[in-house]
């Protein structure tokens, strides 16, 4: 009745990528760059206002019934403290996907739940407990077990370790990597931690203010970034390498909100007149390495 008002924010605009079977594509960017929005739209947990979404060749946006898709693609949440229903026991939480998709006869469900728990490194007797009795890392394992329950082919993981203690991040990452190998999963991995990105992904897509600015193999993007934003991001990352010197000045916070031009122009050390006028297109500079910058190229 009193809806509307104000101009809508384009959280994500013209972001386009493909996750190949068996591949992990990492989506990186700073807070507010649209990573989570993109991740949720990929599974239609949020509805994109425009665009295209294909899964195994099928147009997802044209589908009204997503039930069979839900079995093939699963989401892992960032915050393990809000992603488990506090009123349900772990047994109930892990049985839900099995029941919803009729994946196991009623009598076999406890056995399946036990197997899931053991696969993610928890014990069978944990099934009787409730979420608040677990640590963050354990909860995240439960979240992973829940996603695995339907035996999906695609996992979208929204910063699955960023809310965890550093000491357990590596354990949970290793679990994810093992599971990916074991089951041949494809993964869309959202992250802002570049060390994590290099560890888990084959390709990296860099988002800035809801736009894709660079896309390439993990090695290429991390060692020879083309976009000035990616370079600043790499320079700001605390890699454990004492001999390494920051190559770029740290980010200057003089961002403008102009609709025209490159979204990064306000902060970019290379910005020139053209950057303030025209949005650069994403072009392929090396094999499989795309960048959206008027001054692309190292140096």
């Amino acid at each position: 009745m009193f809806g509307g008002g104000g101009s809508p924010v384009r959280a994500v605009d013209q972001v386009s990528f493909v996750v190949e079977p068996g591949e992990t594509l990492a989506l990186v960017g700073e807070s507010g760059s649209g990573k989570s929005t993109t991740a949720r739209m990929a599974l239609r947990l949020l509805e994109p206002t425009s665009g295209e979404l294909y899964f195994q060749g099928e147009d997802l946006l044209a589908r009204r019934d997503l039930h069979s898709f839900r079995r093939k693609a699963q989401f892992i949440f960032q915050d393990p403290f809000s992603s488990l229903n506090p009123r349900h026991s772990i047994q109930t939480i892990l049985a839900e996907p099995l029941r919803l998709h009729g994946l196991a006869p009623r009598a076999e469900i406890p056995e399946r739940v036990r197997a899931l728990l053991e696969r993610v490194g928890l014990r069978a007797e944990h099934a009787q407990r409730y979420p608040h009795q677990f640590s963050g890392g354990q909860r995240q394992r439960i979240g992973i077990a829940r996603a695995l329950a339907v035996e999906p082919e695609l996992i979208v993981a929204d910063e699955p370790v960023s809310a965890l203690d550093v000491s357990v991040q590596a354990q949970v990452l290793n679990l994810l990597l093992d599971l990916k190998e074991e089951r041949g999963l494809s993964m869309l991995f959202i992250a802002h931690d570049l060390a994590v990105v290099r560890m888990v992904s084959q390709r990296v897509a860099v988002l800035y203010r809801g736009r894709l600015v660079e896309l390439g193999s993990a090695d290429a993007v991390c060692t020879a970034p083309l976009h000035p934003y990616t370079r600043a991001l790499m320079a700001a990352a605390p890699f454990p390498d004492p001999g390494r010197r920051p190559g770029e000045p740290t980010l200057q916070l003089t961002a403008s909100n102009s609709d025209r031009g490159c979204p990064y122009a306000g902060r970019c050390p290379l910005a020139s007149a053209v950057c303030k006028e025209e949005i650069p297109a994403l072009v392929e500079k090396a094999s499989g390495h795309q960048v959206a910058c008027h001054h692309e190229g190292p140096g």
Binding site: M1, F75, F77, Q78, S82, P86, H101
Partner: protein, 291 residues
């Protein structure tokens, strides 16, 4: 054995002093109501005109008869017996009218919060409209349409409470439905009805339980008020408000006739409020901070 959330709530409740006081007060009233036939020394309706206006006393006024602990009224009826039977009425009426508010308000509010859009607008404006009336006036209006009588008073008090529960339910659903575990249920393929009833509503119950406990007190008070005004229970039915209406004119000559029904109402309302406060401290700590 792991402690379930429910057990933890019970353990914390037993540490809460307001909860224990409220529970004690209410369990006394509930027991009296349940065992009224056994406890009450006299019938609630038998008049004995030779025993009119007897003051409260521990000794019998007639040999072989039970003493009139709280005295007698203008028709010689034992006040203690009448109040005990009245507890039964007040409890049933209070609980049932809150049940009406809780079920209808909860469902409407949950629907508004979950569906959003024009459904939300229509339901929310309806709530606003109902809240714009003073509650007792709205109840009187409803009773005058439906006709007098305890059943209709109960219904009216229940209807008046709908927007209070409805708005709370809507607000809780609005916050809960955005939580990750609700999104997780969606991504697992759960349908909207299952999500609402299995994942959203159960996690919205705590503030509603608190409101319900507090609401029983209000409902008892409103019912007594309407009965006092002559819209509810009729003599000789020993509804507390009706008793007050029948006796208040004698307050100078026989003050106990007014004091004890009043104290009964107060005990019931106080018990509900204490219980509600205790529940709130445990179930909904954020609400307690706001006051």
């Amino acid at each position: 054995m792991a402690e379930s959330p429910l057990r933890e709530v019970f353990r914390k409740l037993l540490q809460s002093i307001p909860f224990k006081l409220g529970a004690l007060l209410l369990s006394g009233l509930v027991l009296a109501a349940l065992l009224a036939d056994a406890i009450a020394p006299y019938s609630y309706r038998d008049q004995d005109l030779s025993q009119r206006f007897q003051p409260p006393s521990f000794s019998s006024t007639e040999p072989g008869q039970a003493p009139h602990l709280l005295g007698t009224d203008n028709l010689g009826r034992d006040l203690f017996s009448r109040l005990i039977f009245g507890a039964r009425i007040s409890l049933v009426v209070g609980l049932l009218s809150v049940l009406i508010s809780l079920l209808l308000g909860g469902l409407l509010g949950a629907l508004a919060g979950y569906a959003g859009g024009w459904t939300d607008s229509v339901i929310s404006r309806l709530f606003d409209l109902m809240l714009a009336f003073p509650s007792i006036l709205l109840a009187i209006a409803i009773v005058s349409v439906l006709g007098e009588g305890l059943g209709n008073v109960m219904l009216a008090v229940g209807v008046v409470g709908i927007p209070i529960f409805g708005r709370q339910a809507r607000a809780s659903v609005l916050t809960t439905r955005e939580l990750d575990y609700v999104q997780a249920a969606r991504s697992l393929g759960a349908g909207p009805v299952r999500i609402l009833f299995v994942h959203v509503l159960p996690n919205c119950l705590n503030p509603l339980i608190v409101l319900a406990a507090l609401g029983v007190g209000t409902a008892v008070l409103d019912t007594a008020g309407l009965s006092f005004l002559g819209l509810g229970a009729k003599a000789p039915f020993p509804e507390w408000g009706t008793i007050l209406a029948d006796t208040y004119q004698f307050y100078k000559r026989a003050p106990w006739m007014v004091a004890f029904p009043g104290l009964s109402i107060m005990a019931m309302v106080l018990g509900c409020n204490l219980l509600g406060d205790g529940l709130r401290d445990v179930l909904d700590p954020r609400m307690a901070e706001k006051g």
